[in-house]
């Protein structure tokens, strides 16, 4: 085990753990935001630069500070490393800059975006964004397109985290979409008109940190905070059948995987509980699901603002 200090809090972690994951073991606001890193997707991370942190001391053996901020999602900890995240002004400064970079070409169409309320870029903008923009140029625009009959791609909103590409590589047998072109005109595309059609392709929606990939079966149906997220399960031959169904009254408006507080699909019985397209897109009838009870939602989340019944389990967790 190696010892590392993050924002004055000491934690012991396995050698090879990244700074971000060490911070997640501490939890709370010590954890840097991550727009592209996704612990369940191998090779993800390093690209968005929102998780940059300051390393005030490299290790016990070499206590020199690192000159540049480092990407906490891809830098492994060393014994005796001292990391500054929320205690570093430089980190906040640069995180604000990254937020600005991510927003200059973003359409800011939250009022009509299905992702609003559970969008990581929205959270990031709330924490680190400025009121106005200094960007006077024309924004880069693309037309929204369908990739498959159930998935909508709004390239304008994309932050090029590459998560959906990793999903296609790691969850499906044949990837048909990817990153085309380069620089600030890089885009997610299938290049030729082609449907992303695979039992697990719908997971690109769950991993998308913004509203670039959205569920067409839920498009414009409701704001997420008007819905009640319920844990539900079903007998499914393709996936574990453990999902969250988002309900309005007795109606199921949409189905998603069960996401943890970092927006990542939870592990259930040691396996990441990705759900299949049939569960996600086709099972919209209450009778198809065994509703287990309300989903625990962070009380600071906008989704909790319209919160309904107080769940006993939440209460019991509070007491413990």
């Amino acid at each position: 085990m190696v010892k590392v200090i993050i924002d004055d809090i000491e934690v012991e972690v396995e050698p090879g753990t990244t700074i971000l994951n060490a911070a997640r073991q501490i939890g709370g606001d010590v954890v840097p935001p991550a727009m592209c890193y996704y612990s369940k997707l191998q090779g993800s991370g390093g690209k968005c630069r929102t998780c940059l942190v300051e390393v005030a001391a490299g290790s016990t053996a070499d206590p020199r500070p690192m000159p540049k901020l480092v990407a906490s999602c891809s830098t492994p900890v060393m014994d005796g490393m001292i990391v500054k995240n929320k205690t570093s002004e430089r980190v906040y400064d640069n995180r604000a800059a990254v937020t600005e970079f991510l927003l200059i070409n973003h359409p800011l169409d939250c009022p009509i975006c299905d992702q609003a309320g559970e969008c990581h870029l929205q959270d990031l903008g709330f924490e680190h964004g400025k009121e106005g923009t200094r960007y006077e140029e024309k924004r880069r625009t693309f037309d929204p397109i369908d990739i498959g009959d159930k998935i909508k791609l709004h390239m304008n909103r994309c932050i090029l985290c590459y998560r959906c590409v990793y999903v296609a590589n790691q969850l499906t047998d044949k990837r048909v979409h990817g990153i085309m072109h380069r620089g600030d005109h890089a885009e997610i595309s299938t290049y030729i008109e082609q449907a992303i059609d695979n039992d697990f392709s719908g997971n690109v929606i769950d991993v998308c940190p913004v509203g670039a990939l959205t569920d067409k079966t839920f498009r414009f149906k409701s704001r997420v905070w008007f819905l009640k997220p319920m844990e539900a399960s079903c007998e499914c031959t393709k996936c574990a059948g453990k999902a969250v169904v988002w309900m309005f009254g007795d109606e199921i408006y949409r189905v998603t995987g069960r996401k943890d507080k970092y927006g990542e699909i939870e592990d259930i019985d040691g396996k990441t509980a990705w759900i299949c397209n049939e569960c996600r897109f086709d099972k919209k009838d209450k009778s198809q699901w065994n509703i287990e009870g309300p989903r625990v939602i962070n009380r600071h989340s906008v989704i909790a603002q319209n919160q309904y019944l107080v769940d006993e389990r939440i209460e019991s967790k509070k007491l413990n």
Binding site: M180, R182, I192
Partner: protein, 186 residues
């Protein structure tokens, strides 16, 4: 000066996939292809992709159509999307059908210092096209390129595998005439 690369964004994301007959390398070229693949260890045949794309562009009309890229994907036993990703990343590959002759004028700093802007303007006027367009007779496509490594010999342009350096408007005229003659019967 017109910006051609910003226009690239507006290229439609969908491409018609039925606009060309099935491409096929000749037996002679297949030997080349195999030689390129043999440069790499077993199972790493994807590494030959760029070399084969250059060859494919040369063989199949000076550009990479969707059938061409799918064909190359098949040769290397990789997914077509892996070829599309690469072909769109690297600027040398034409993913739109160009004219018979593609002129790429270097526009970067050192060439600009010695007059590349004037050369571009001259060609634009001469062919009555803007950067990124093809002349009405389908002969010439004018593009600009970033630094081609001929900084001391500028202004310059690349045409196929050839560099034409120390350009002047008179030399450009001469070059265009020669190229027109060379390619008019093809």
């Amino acid at each position: 000066m017109q910006e051609n690369w910003t226009h690239k964004m507006s290229i439609s994301v969908t491409h018609n996939s039925t606009d060309q007959a099935e491409p096929q390398f000749s037996a002679e070229k297949m030997v080349e292809v195999q030689r390129f693949i043999n440069h790499y260890p077993e199972g790493k045949q994807k590494s030959a992709l760029m070399r084969i794309l250059h060859l494919a562009e040369e063989e199949f009309g000076g550009w990479l159509s969707v059938p061409t890229m799918n064909y190359v994907a098949g040769l290397l036993n990789i997914q077509p999307i892996e070829v599309y990703e690469v072909a769109t990343f690297y600027t040398m590959f034409n993913i739109e059908k160009p004219g018979k002759v593609v002129l790429e004028v270097c526009r970067t700093g050192p060439c600009m210092l010695v007059g590349s802007d004037q050369i571009i303007e001259h060609i634009e006027n001469k062919l009555d096209i803007k950067v990124g367009q093809t002349s009405a007779d389908g002969m010439f496509t004018l593009k600009t390129a970033e630094c081609l490594g001929a900084c001391g010999y500028g202004p310059m342009l690349q045409c196929g595998k050839h560099y034409h350096e120390h350009l002047t408007p008179a030399k450009v005229d001469e070059l265009l005439d020669t190229l027109r003659k060379e390619h008019s019967d093809k």
